[in-house]
Symmetry: C2
Subunit: 248 residues, 2 copies
DNA sequence: CGAGGGTTTGAAGTGCATCAAATAGTGTGG
DNA sequence: CCACACTATTTGATGCACTTCAAACCCTCG
């Protein structure tokens, strides 16, 4: 599967990217310039490991486009997917508040362009630049809110519903009744992101199709009747359909 | 059940509480005084509803002692427990960054003393007092970290292991091999906090006893061999035993 | 064309949920 | 201090959802 992101405008420069990123809004020209100068842009193919749990945390990562998987490994070697992130999300930033080591591993899930920033610079900007701290706070708050919904889903929705919810969150806001989507990354990864096994995912998708008349062609999903999908999926959830925040 | 909190020293004054709370550390005498003047202390019995989802968010709550349940309700009327909080935790603060309405309901789970602060004051302190914003950021970061572990648990641990993990987190740090605990609130509530049904909880506890030789007498649990409980519980988890942050 | 990863399908097992009912525990008024 | 009412918890029987292990299929790419 190699369907990266939809129609993002072609990337131009680090300065342009950082200037628009929510984390850097209104932090002032001096700080922005410092970040831009220290930032490095990279491209990495699927499978590339960016860092592993326990590494010294030297950088904060910002995703320009693509998808990155964050995960931890248990003592028994099984992998727990924490999150799968895309454009405009950051990771590695949590270690700013922790002990200076990454508490999870990061691996590229689909071809990704990302920017790194020295963590020391982020750390000092937080303490010296109030606006930057506020931006960080807002980001965190959103993330926290999203996580709490995630927990609710694990408790209240069955596998087909979780998949339906995942599909709905992929829909652009204000979608028409009929939408065509490309699954952004491997089905097995979607499965573990949703806390189910690949085999179950496959079967649950079949069941979801039977219930909601969606159409599935490999990595492409066509939703013919959005409302029908919504009513199958969202009834067991406390937040109603256009679940605001967009997320992979 | 009425086993509130262990041996917290008797409470003295709002000023004393706020002076020690992590959120208010180093924010300066002027701000602290303002908060202290605006704060109100309340006592509420089990069952008391503090606010419900959708209410206008006028206050941030700080728990002095006791336990408070945060939850949402789905369209079908089933309740999803988001979190159960105790001493030194705050709630309602998320609405500072949202639309000004509570996104969940709050109900007292065990007799609780709590302090309220006007949300407007908190909001303005965040924007005008850098240290306060930093304190908030640290709190959020910890919370976020804990939530991500919560998600991992739901995916990787079975019911008896989740209960084991819950018990371990109740143990004071540096506990001896043998520990006696009181369950802090109703078993049915523990169950839904762990994402399982009361009946399953009961059976899973029996199974956990068979596996780890713990002793159960109503709401009291005696762990005879901590290490044994750890190895049964934590092998399916990415973080190893003394899971740092304390939480209910 | 063949190799390998990703995905689906089949058969059997396990864990948790559900519904129903019994039991234990707690607080109340007589 | 006891009987009753009510709630919390446990137990039993059964069903469904998800997992597991195994094998087939499909698709891409060298």
């Amino acid at each position: 599967m190699s369907c990266a992101v939809k129609t993002t405008p072609p990337f131009i420069s680090i300065a342009e990217y950082l200037g628009k990123a929510p984390l850097f809004v209104d932090i002032g020209a001096k700080y922005l310039r410092e970040f831009v100068d220290a930032a490095r842009l990279y491209t990495a193919p699927k499978g590339k490991v960016l860092f592993i749990q326990g590494d010294k945390a030297n950088y904060v990562y910002l995703i320009v486009d693509g998808w990155v998987k964050l995960f931890r490994e248990t003592l028994e070697g099984t992998e727990a997917v924490i999150d799968v992130l895309t454009s405009n999300h950051s990771f590695g930033d949590t270690s700013v508040f922790e002990d200076g080591y990454y508490s999870y591993s990061a691996e590229v899930a689909e071809h990704t362009r990302y920017i790194t920033l020295p963590i020391s610079m982020v750390k000092s900007a937080i303490t010296t630049n109030h606006q930057f701290a506020l931006n960080m706070l807002l980001t965190m708050s959103q993330h926290r809110h999203q996580q709490s919904r995630e927990i609710e889903h694990l408790n209240n929705q069955n596998a087909p519903q979780r998949i339906g919810c995942f599909l709905l969150r992929l829909c652009p806001v204000g979608s028409a009744a009929s939408v065509t989507l490309n699954l952004p990354y491997d089905k097995a990864l979607i499965a573990s992101r949703l806390g189910i096994k690949p085999e179950t995912f496959s079967r649950a998708l079949v069941k979801l199709r039977a219930e909601t008349q969606i159409e599935i062609q490999g990595p492409t999903v066509i939703i013919h009747d959005l409302q029908r999908l919504v009513s199958y999926t969202c009834n067991h959830c406390s937040s109603s359909f256009p679940c605001k925040d967009v997320k992979g």
